[in-house]
Protein backbone atom coordinates (compact mmCIF):
# COMPACT_ATOMS: atom_id res chain seq x y z
CA UNK A 1 0.00 0.00 0.00
CA UNK A 2 0.98 3.57 -0.52
CA UNK A 3 3.02 4.94 2.32
CA UNK A 4 2.19 7.87 4.60
CA UNK A 5 4.50 10.82 3.95
CA UNK A 6 4.74 14.21 5.57
CA UNK A 7 2.06 16.36 4.01
CA UNK A 8 4.38 18.77 2.22
CA UNK A 9 6.30 15.89 0.74
CA UNK A 10 3.20 14.17 -0.43
CA UNK A 11 2.03 17.42 -2.01
CA UNK A 12 5.40 17.80 -3.69
CA UNK A 13 5.41 14.25 -4.94
CA UNK A 14 1.82 14.60 -6.07
CA UNK A 15 2.56 17.80 -7.90
CA UNK A 16 5.55 16.31 -9.68
CA UNK A 17 3.63 13.25 -10.66
CA UNK A 18 0.63 15.13 -11.91
CA UNK A 19 2.65 17.72 -13.78
CA UNK A 20 4.84 15.05 -15.30
CA UNK A 21 1.84 13.08 -16.38
CA UNK A 22 0.24 16.21 -17.78
CA UNK A 23 3.33 17.03 -19.83
CA UNK A 24 3.58 13.50 -21.07
CA UNK A 25 -0.06 13.42 -21.97
CA UNK A 26 0.30 16.74 -23.74
CA UNK A 27 3.13 15.32 -25.79
CA UNK A 28 1.05 12.33 -26.71
CA UNK A 29 -1.87 14.53 -27.65
CA UNK A 30 0.57 16.33 -29.87
CA UNK A 31 0.87 13.13 -31.81
CA UNK A 32 -2.82 13.32 -32.48
CA UNK A 33 -3.27 17.01 -33.01
CA UNK A 34 -0.20 18.05 -34.99
CA UNK A 35 -0.52 18.00 -38.72
CA UNK A 36 2.79 16.79 -40.09
CA UNK A 37 5.28 14.18 -39.13
CA UNK A 38 8.07 16.70 -38.56
CA UNK A 39 5.89 18.46 -36.02
CA UNK A 40 4.82 15.25 -34.36
CA UNK A 41 8.33 14.16 -33.56
CA UNK A 42 8.47 16.93 -30.98
CA UNK A 43 5.58 15.55 -29.00
CA UNK A 44 7.04 12.45 -27.40
CA UNK A 45 10.14 14.30 -26.23
CA UNK A 46 8.04 16.01 -23.61
CA UNK A 47 7.46 12.69 -22.01
CA UNK A 48 11.04 11.66 -22.33
CA UNK A 49 12.41 14.87 -20.97
CA UNK A 50 10.57 16.89 -18.39
CA UNK A 51 7.44 14.79 -18.09
CA UNK A 52 9.37 11.68 -17.41
CA UNK A 53 11.93 13.53 -15.36
CA UNK A 54 9.31 14.84 -12.96
CA UNK A 55 7.69 11.50 -12.43
CA UNK A 56 11.06 9.84 -11.91
CA UNK A 57 12.03 12.57 -9.52
CA UNK A 58 8.84 12.04 -7.60
CA UNK A 59 9.61 8.37 -7.40
CA UNK A 60 13.13 9.03 -6.20
CA UNK A 61 11.86 11.35 -3.48
CA UNK A 62 9.13 9.00 -2.46
CA UNK A 63 11.36 5.97 -2.12
CA UNK A 64 14.18 7.91 -0.53
CA UNK A 65 11.73 8.91 2.17
CA UNK A 66 9.94 5.62 2.60
CA UNK A 67 13.08 3.48 2.41
CA UNK A 68 15.03 5.95 4.56
CA UNK A 69 18.04 5.89 2.29
CA UNK A 70 19.09 7.62 -0.90
CA UNK A 71 17.27 6.08 -3.81
CA UNK A 72 18.65 7.48 -7.03
CA UNK A 73 18.36 4.71 -9.51
CA UNK A 74 15.57 6.59 -11.25
CA UNK A 75 18.44 8.64 -12.59
CA UNK A 76 19.55 5.62 -14.55
CA UNK A 77 16.19 5.36 -16.19
CA UNK A 78 16.23 9.04 -17.06
CA UNK A 79 19.68 8.71 -18.55
CA UNK A 80 18.74 5.70 -20.62
CA UNK A 81 15.59 7.32 -21.95
CA UNK A 82 17.45 10.49 -22.78
CA UNK A 83 20.12 8.57 -24.66
CA UNK A 84 17.89 6.23 -26.56
CA UNK A 85 14.97 8.39 -27.64
CA UNK A 86 17.05 10.54 -30.01
CA UNK A 87 18.32 7.43 -31.77
CA UNK A 88 14.86 6.40 -32.87
CA UNK A 89 13.83 9.95 -33.65
CA UNK A 90 16.90 10.63 -35.76
CA UNK A 91 16.47 7.43 -37.73
CA UNK A 92 12.78 8.04 -38.24
CA UNK A 93 13.31 11.61 -39.28
CA UNK A 94 16.01 10.58 -41.74
CA UNK A 95 13.80 7.92 -43.20
CA UNK A 96 10.96 10.37 -43.62
CA UNK A 97 13.16 13.03 -45.08
CA UNK A 98 14.54 10.59 -47.55
CA UNK A 99 11.14 9.38 -48.54
CA UNK A 100 9.70 12.85 -48.87
CA UNK A 101 12.55 13.80 -51.15
CA UNK A 102 12.18 10.71 -53.29
CA UNK A 103 8.48 11.33 -53.57
CA UNK A 104 9.15 15.00 -54.24
CA UNK A 105 6.87 16.26 -51.49
CA UNK A 106 6.52 19.96 -50.83
CA UNK A 107 7.96 21.76 -47.86
CA UNK A 108 10.98 19.57 -47.44
CA UNK A 109 14.50 20.96 -47.75
CA UNK A 110 16.38 19.91 -50.87
CA UNK A 111 18.92 17.19 -50.51
CA UNK A 112 22.37 18.53 -49.80
CA UNK A 113 24.60 18.27 -52.84
CA UNK A 114 27.77 16.32 -52.43
CA UNK A 115 30.93 18.35 -52.30
CA UNK A 116 32.36 16.56 -55.34
CA UNK A 117 29.38 17.31 -57.52
CA UNK A 118 29.46 20.88 -58.83
CA UNK A 119 26.61 23.04 -57.69
CA UNK A 120 23.78 23.44 -60.13
CA UNK A 121 24.43 26.16 -62.64
Amino acid sequence: MIADLPLWLSILVSAFVVLGALLTMAGCFGLVRLKSFYLRIHGPTMGTSMGGGLILLASAIYFTVTRERLVVHELVIFLFVTLTTPVTLMLLARATLFRDRVEGNEGVPKRPEKAETPASP
Binding site: G27, F29, G30, Y38, M46, M50, H73, L97, P109, P112
Partner: protein, 161 residues
Protein backbone atom coordinates in the same frame (compact mmCIF):
# COMPACT_ATOMS: atom_id res chain seq x y z
CA UNK B 1 47.52 0.36 -18.02
CA UNK B 2 46.21 1.41 -21.37
CA UNK B 3 45.54 -2.19 -22.30
CA UNK B 4 43.92 -2.94 -18.98
CA UNK B 5 41.83 0.19 -18.98
CA UNK B 6 41.27 1.33 -22.54
CA UNK B 7 38.28 3.44 -21.55
CA UNK B 8 38.76 4.81 -18.08
CA UNK B 9 35.79 7.14 -18.33
CA UNK B 10 33.59 4.32 -19.52
CA UNK B 11 34.86 2.01 -16.80
CA UNK B 12 34.20 4.62 -14.17
CA UNK B 13 30.76 5.23 -15.50
CA UNK B 14 30.04 1.51 -15.51
CA UNK B 15 31.19 1.19 -11.92
CA UNK B 16 28.87 3.98 -10.88
CA UNK B 17 26.07 2.38 -12.84
CA UNK B 18 26.73 -0.88 -11.04
CA UNK B 19 26.64 0.72 -7.65
CA UNK B 20 23.49 2.65 -8.40
CA UNK B 21 21.82 -0.48 -9.64
CA UNK B 22 22.90 -2.37 -6.54
CA UNK B 23 21.77 0.60 -4.42
CA UNK B 24 24.80 0.07 -2.31
CA UNK B 25 28.33 1.28 -2.10
CA UNK B 26 29.64 -1.57 0.04
CA UNK B 27 33.18 -2.74 -0.45
CA UNK B 28 32.05 -6.01 -1.97
CA UNK B 29 30.00 -4.20 -4.54
CA UNK B 30 32.80 -1.83 -5.34
CA UNK B 31 35.27 -4.64 -5.82
CA UNK B 32 32.96 -6.79 -7.82
CA UNK B 33 31.62 -3.83 -9.78
CA UNK B 34 35.15 -2.74 -10.49
CA UNK B 35 36.06 -6.08 -11.96
CA UNK B 36 32.94 -6.05 -14.10
CA UNK B 37 33.46 -2.46 -15.18
CA UNK B 38 37.03 -3.11 -16.28
CA UNK B 39 36.18 -6.36 -18.01
CA UNK B 40 33.24 -4.89 -19.85
CA UNK B 41 35.09 -1.78 -20.87
CA UNK B 42 37.84 -3.97 -22.27
CA UNK B 43 35.31 -5.95 -24.24
CA UNK B 44 33.71 -2.73 -25.43
CA UNK B 45 36.96 -1.39 -26.81
CA UNK B 46 36.45 -3.72 -29.78
CA UNK B 47 33.30 -1.78 -30.59
CA UNK B 48 34.49 1.64 -29.50
CA UNK B 49 38.10 2.02 -30.61
CA UNK B 50 38.40 5.79 -30.10
CA UNK B 51 39.33 6.84 -26.65
CA UNK B 52 37.27 9.69 -25.28
CA UNK B 53 38.96 12.37 -23.31
CA UNK B 54 37.05 15.00 -21.41
CA UNK B 55 39.37 17.96 -21.14
CA UNK B 56 37.15 20.18 -19.06
CA UNK B 57 34.98 18.14 -16.68
CA UNK B 58 33.52 21.22 -15.03
CA UNK B 59 32.38 22.61 -18.34
CA UNK B 60 30.65 19.29 -18.87
CA UNK B 61 28.59 19.83 -15.77
CA UNK B 62 27.82 23.31 -16.94
CA UNK B 63 26.61 21.87 -20.21
CA UNK B 64 24.28 19.54 -18.41
CA UNK B 65 22.82 22.32 -16.34
CA UNK B 66 22.34 24.58 -19.32
CA UNK B 67 20.70 21.83 -21.28
CA UNK B 68 18.47 20.95 -18.34
CA UNK B 69 17.24 24.50 -18.03
CA UNK B 70 16.59 24.76 -21.73
CA UNK B 71 14.67 21.53 -21.64
CA UNK B 72 12.38 22.81 -18.92
CA UNK B 73 11.82 26.07 -20.76
CA UNK B 74 11.03 24.46 -24.06
CA UNK B 75 8.79 21.89 -22.42
CA UNK B 76 6.61 24.61 -21.07
CA UNK B 77 6.76 26.46 -24.37
CA UNK B 78 5.71 23.49 -26.41
CA UNK B 79 2.99 22.61 -23.93
CA UNK B 80 1.50 26.04 -24.26
CA UNK B 81 1.35 25.59 -28.01
CA UNK B 82 -0.14 22.14 -27.69
CA UNK B 83 -2.89 23.19 -25.33
CA UNK B 84 -3.90 25.92 -27.73
CA UNK B 85 -7.28 25.14 -29.24
CA UNK B 86 -5.73 25.11 -32.70
CA UNK B 87 -2.04 24.44 -32.36
CA UNK B 88 -0.35 26.17 -35.25
CA UNK B 89 3.36 26.43 -34.57
CA UNK B 90 5.58 28.23 -37.04
CA UNK B 91 7.84 25.34 -37.69
CA UNK B 92 10.77 25.20 -40.03
CA UNK B 93 13.95 23.49 -41.14
CA UNK B 94 17.32 24.98 -40.39
CA UNK B 95 20.56 24.02 -42.03
CA UNK B 96 23.34 24.89 -39.70
CA UNK B 97 27.11 24.82 -40.24
CA UNK B 98 29.04 23.21 -37.42
CA UNK B 99 32.57 23.75 -36.30
CA UNK B 100 32.35 20.70 -34.12
CA UNK B 101 33.97 17.62 -35.67
CA UNK B 102 34.47 15.21 -32.80
CA UNK B 103 31.86 12.47 -33.30
CA UNK B 104 31.37 11.96 -29.59
CA UNK B 105 30.69 15.64 -29.12
CA UNK B 106 28.40 15.67 -32.12
CA UNK B 107 26.45 12.80 -30.57
CA UNK B 108 26.03 14.76 -27.37
CA UNK B 109 24.83 17.75 -29.30
CA UNK B 110 22.41 15.58 -31.23
CA UNK B 111 21.06 14.07 -28.04
CA UNK B 112 20.59 17.45 -26.41
CA UNK B 113 18.88 19.00 -29.39
CA UNK B 114 16.63 16.04 -29.92
CA UNK B 115 15.81 15.53 -26.28
CA UNK B 116 14.76 19.15 -26.06
CA UNK B 117 11.17 19.49 -27.14
CA UNK B 118 10.92 21.86 -30.02
CA UNK B 119 14.07 20.91 -31.86
CA UNK B 120 15.06 17.75 -33.64
CA UNK B 121 18.35 16.69 -35.19
CA UNK B 122 17.56 15.29 -38.59
CA UNK B 123 20.57 14.84 -40.80
CA UNK B 124 24.26 15.41 -40.41
CA UNK B 125 26.36 15.84 -43.51
CA UNK B 126 29.92 15.00 -42.69
CA UNK B 127 31.33 16.14 -46.01
CA UNK B 128 30.03 19.65 -45.57
CA UNK B 129 29.90 19.59 -41.81
CA UNK B 130 26.34 20.78 -41.69
CA UNK B 131 23.31 19.56 -39.84
CA UNK B 132 19.65 19.80 -40.73
CA UNK B 133 17.45 20.63 -37.76
CA UNK B 134 13.73 20.88 -37.48
CA UNK B 135 12.42 23.52 -35.13
CA UNK B 136 8.94 23.45 -33.71
CA UNK B 137 8.34 27.12 -33.13
CA UNK B 138 10.78 29.05 -35.24
CA UNK B 139 10.72 32.79 -34.80
CA UNK B 140 14.11 33.91 -36.00
CA UNK B 141 16.37 31.45 -37.74
CA UNK B 142 19.64 33.30 -37.24
CA UNK B 143 18.99 33.97 -33.61
CA UNK B 144 18.18 30.32 -33.07
CA UNK B 145 21.40 29.21 -34.71
CA UNK B 146 23.40 31.70 -32.73
CA UNK B 147 21.87 30.48 -29.49
CA UNK B 148 22.75 26.89 -30.22
CA UNK B 149 26.26 27.77 -31.24
CA UNK B 150 26.81 29.80 -28.15
CA UNK B 151 25.13 27.67 -25.54
CA UNK B 152 26.15 24.20 -26.75
CA UNK B 153 28.68 24.11 -29.53
CA UNK B 154 31.10 26.41 -27.82
CA UNK B 155 30.96 24.41 -24.63
CA UNK B 156 31.36 21.13 -26.44
CA UNK B 157 34.33 22.47 -28.34
CA UNK B 158 35.93 23.39 -25.09
CA UNK B 159 35.23 20.03 -23.53
CA UNK B 160 36.31 17.76 -26.34
CA UNK B 161 38.70 19.56 -28.66
Amino acid sequence: MRRLLPHPILAGFLLILWLVLQQSAGLGHILFGGVIAIAVSMAASAIIPERVVIRRPLKFIQLILVAGLDIIRSNLAVMSVLFHPRPNPTAGFIEMDLTLKNPFALAILAVILTATPGSAWLEYDRARSTVLIHVFDLVDEDEWVATVKKRYEALLLEIFQ
